[in-house]
């Protein structure tokens, strides 16, 4: 066990933890930030997507030790204008079904729009290719990302 200090959602947390533990389990089990989900543990599904220094990353693949020097944002701290607009669009377009993968989808979508405010369908497919949805909400996710991009443009 090591004492590690993390910066998450602009707050500082100190945790006693196995430094090799994936960030995912520290967020969920130790810090109670359960909006970040487990589904595969091998970077295949994107349910655990968080922002690491603004980039969408799979928290199941990052050790807590490696996350210590970065600014982490989870779905609970996604309060940027784009993040909020995406959450509204997700509700307006009735995107979720079971809802389990959606925090990860929104985190991936937010990182995309921060970098590319007017993505094409191909850009969206590229950015969202790491995120699985078993309920099959892909069309609506794409539409919601476009809606936010167009809203920001108007």
């Amino acid at each position: 066990m090591e004492r590690i200090t993390l910066s998450i959602n602009r707050q500082t947390y100190t945790v006693d933890v196995d430094p090799n533990s994936p960030l995912l389990w520290v967020l969920r089990d130790q810090l109670g930030l359960t909006g970040t989900k487990y589904s595969c543990g091998i970077g295949q599904c994107g349910a655990c997507t968080v922002h690491v220094d603004g980039n969408a990353q799979r928290s199941c693949l990052i050790s807590v030790e490696d996350a210590a020097d970065s600014e982490i944002t989870t779905i609970e701290g996604l309060d940027s204008p784009i993040g909020q607009a995406l959450q509204r669009a997700w509700v307006d377009l009735n995107v979720p079904q079971c809802g389990y993968c959606q925090p990860g989808q929104i985190m991936a979508g937010a990182a995309l729009l921060e970098e590319n405010p007017t993505p094409t369908d191909d850009d969206i497919d590229e950015a969202m290719q790491h995120n699985l949805c078993r309920c099959g909400t892909y069309q609506r996710i794409r539409a919601a990302i476009h809606a936010v991009a167009e809203g920001a443009e108007a």
Binding site: M1, Q11, T12, Y13, T14, V15, D16, D18, S21, W25, R28, D29, Q30, L31, G32, L33, T34, G35, K37, Y38, S39, C40, G41, I42, Q44, C45, I75, E76, L86, Q87, W90, V91, D92, N94, V95, P96, Q97, C98, G99, Y100, C101, Q102, P103, I106, I124, D125, E126, M128, Q129, N131, L132, C133, R134, C135, G136, T137, Y138, Q139, R140, R142
Partner: protein, 674 residues
């Protein structure tokens, strides 16, 4: 005004049968309701706090909410003095939108303000009758009951207002959570305590709305749980934490049917954070202070397993089933074919998980289950406690698709908690989930037709080998695949358009959806070079009729699905956008099965383990989906599973049109078309 007491009403209702049985279903005394309320811990109440700066979190014990006052006319509704309307959601919400559609039916007949609806997940309770969430029957099986429940509450609120004003109930109207008489207005909240003092009126006098007057049923509502899904505050069983809870994983046999012969726990116990290691039914449990420590502990276990079914392989299973399918041979007038569907996994995004707390005098289980009554039986049996002391709480569920009709993971959690003497959260990794599923059966479907009469004979055979269970649309999936692909083979041999062939033999409602889908897709119209349409229609469980037309091309040896046009007749539509969403999701689910889904086995071991080798469709591959609802005045008939069956055969028939090779096996492989 009726002077029957509630008890009398329930008694009378049970004795007289018929529509009054409905009264019994919803008749429930306030005492019964509050008893169930007390044990229904709201998932939100157990959410761990977000720790403050520099702090580490300690999850709090679950708070037991005080029973609040309110008007509880039946088991489904509580109207509180603040005007909020609590819906006791009696079926499991797993993405199919049942919390929303159940609320819409209640709110319609109650004339509630939609924004006043709050959801509480109901416990396993006989007052709700069968609570199994399967067969897409939540709405078809509850529609009449829910309408009566809402209308009864509305009638009692009217009676309370009429008493207050000294007018007749017939002088009063209701609108958006209020009762009105001319300029006089009282909110449901203001009337709640008066209404609670009234006797529940008899079934026969409950007036239901004319469907033409519906203002909520038939309008599109987003899922009532959406706000909590999008900000991460929705609490699934995976997200729960109880005071003193340990995180548990179980090492399951790597070979089907294997059992623990012996194990050495010393290395596992030495892992930092591991607190307990012990044998359980089917494996060895490792309990730790975090999921990560439990997983590390499991890796360190040394277990000797019995051989199990090491003889099982996909080929041995196929051979056994092939021997049962007799091909009789074709001639100029007959055509026959066998259609093969492999074992398929459910792969819900939230793997199987369950929180259990077995104590000396009670057992609480937070079970993401589609069958809370089965979960209760299992928990009762394993805990050894009286049924009355066993409480099943059903949180939001991260996908079900039939997997959660099984209670294996509930049983594990209860056993582990009982042995550990602690609350536990049982965690299944994705690998546990894929390798310990109750798979869609490996099946062969035989079809034979005489071309002159177009008479088709069919039979089906299921393989024995792996454990199998209900998988979204169950037998409708292989049936629709075989039937629709064979129809196209017959049509090709007979020189008839596949659409025309189907229209000759379909029922009126099937014809309706097929015609609508064909119109919307432009069946028979020119398509871009290299594209083809494939068509399929199926009536899942015989009740909901869905036609789909897939536009497909083959690019560099890869099947590309560009668009799926879908028409659906599910009778009366409660939530149109909910129907559209379920068709969209069903099509994506069907596409995964058409293009990727396949569980195989070698030396008794499942060969797939995670999403790298059990692939799900990704966004890049998702087609344009165009859904059209053909609303009819038939009873509402279910939508959760019905989008799935036509998709694979529609794609397969397009591939047949493009290549000239019929598709007889899923997943579709271009080099395997026979």
């Amino acid at each position: 005004m009726s002077t029957l007491t509630r008890r009398d009403f329930i008694k009378a209702s049970t004795l007289t049968g018929g529509s009054l049985v409905l009264g019994f279903m919803i008749g429930c005394t306030p005492e019964e309701i509050s008893a169930t309320q007390v044990v229904n811990l709201s998932p939100a109440a157990t959410q761990p706090p977000t720790p403050g700066p520099g702090q580490t979190a300690t999850p709090p014990p679950p708070a037991t909410p005080e029973p609040e006052p309110g008007f509880k006319p039946n088991a489904y509704l509580i109207i509180r003095p603040d005007g909020s309307v609590t819906v006791m959601a009696h079926r499991s919400e797993m993405g199919q939108g049942v919390n929303t559609s159940v609320s819409m039916i209640l709110a319609e007949e109650l004339d509630a303000d939609w924004d006043s609806i709050r959801i509480v997940h109901a416990p396993a309770d006989p007052v709700y009758g069968d609570q199994v969430t399967g067969g897409s029957q939540s709405i078809s099986g509850s529609y009449d009951t829910l309408r009566v429940a809402g209308a009864t509450a509305r009638m009692m609120l009217i009676m309370a207002a009429a008493d207050r004003w000294g007018v007749g109930p017939e002088d009063c109207t209701t609108e958006k959570g209020t009762v009105r008489n001319g300029d006089q207005v009282l909110t449901y909240g203001e009337l709640a305590s008066d209404a609670a003092a009234l006797s529940v009126p008899q079934g026969a006098v409950i007036a239901l709305k004319d469907p033409e007057d519906f203002t909520i049923i038939g309008t599109s509502k987003g899922l009532i749980d959406n706000p909590q899904y999008v900000n991460g505050s929705a609490i699934f069983a995976s997200d729960m934490a109880l005071e003193g809870m340990l995180y548990a994983v179980i090492a399951h046999s790597p070979v089907v049917g294997g059992a623990v012969v012996s194990f050495d726990a010393s290395a596992a116990s030495a892992v930092d954070g591991v607190e307990q290691v012990f044998g359980v039914y089917g494996g060895v449990a490792v309990l730790a202070t975090s999921t990560w420590a439990a997983l590390k502990g499991r890796e360190a276990l040394e277990i000797t397993w019995s051989e199990g079914r090491a003889d099982l392989s996909t080929e041995s299973i196929r051979k056994a089933i092939e021997d049962r399918v007799t091909l009789r041979g074709e001639d100029d007038n007959t055509i026959e074919a066998v259609y093969e569907v492999p074992y398929l996994a459910h792969a819900t995004m939230e793997p199987m998980t369950c929180v259990a707390h077995v104590q000396a005098d009670r057992c609480d289980v937070w079970a993401p289950t589609q069958d809370r009554q089965s979960a209760k039986q299992v928990a009762t049996s394993i805990s050894g406690l009286p049924s009355a002391n066993v409480f099943i709480h059903v949180p939001l569920i991260g996908g079900g698709f039939g997997r959660r009709l099984q209670s294996d993971y509930v049983s594990e959690a209860v056993e582990v908690s009982a042995k550990a003497g602690r609350p536990v959260k049982l965690f299944w990794s994705r690998e546990d989930d894929i390798r310990n599923d109750y798979y869609h059966p490996f099946s062969f479907n035989y079809r034979r037709a005489e071309l002159d009469t177009l008479l088709i004979r069919s039979s089906s055979s299921l393989a024995s080998g792996l454990q199998t269970g209900a998988w979204r649309s169950v037998e409708n999936f292989p049936e629709a695949f075989a039937t629709n692909c064979f129809q196209d083979e017959v049509a090709a041999r007979a020189g008839i358009d596949p659409y025309v062939l189907r229209m000759q033999s379909l029922s009126e409602r099937q014809q309706g959806v097929l015609q609508l889908a064909a119109e919307k897709a432009g069946w028979g119209q020119p398509l871009p070079e290299g594209h083809a349409h494939g068509i399929a229609v199926h009536s899942t469980f015989g009740v909901t009729h869905v036609a789909q037309i897939a536009e497909v091309s083959i690019e560099d040896g890869v099947i590309r699905v560009h668009k799926v046009t879908c028409a659906v007749d599910c009778g009366r539509v409660i939530n149109p956008d909910g129907v559209i969403a379920q068709m969209e999701g069903g099509i994506i689910f069907g596409m995964t099965a058409a293009l990727y889904g396949e569980i195989t086995i070698e030396d008794g071991q499942i060969q797939q383990s995670n999403f790298n080798n059990y692939k799900l469709l990704r966004m890049r591959e998702a087609p344009v989906i165009d859904v059209h609802i053909l609303e009819t005045d038939n009873s509402p008939s279910g939508i959760g599973e019905m989008g799935v069956p036509p998709t694979a055969p529609a794609i397969a028939n397009a591939v047949f049109a493009l290549t000239g090779n019929p598709v007889r096996k899923l997943p579709i492989r271009l080099d395997q078309s026979s």
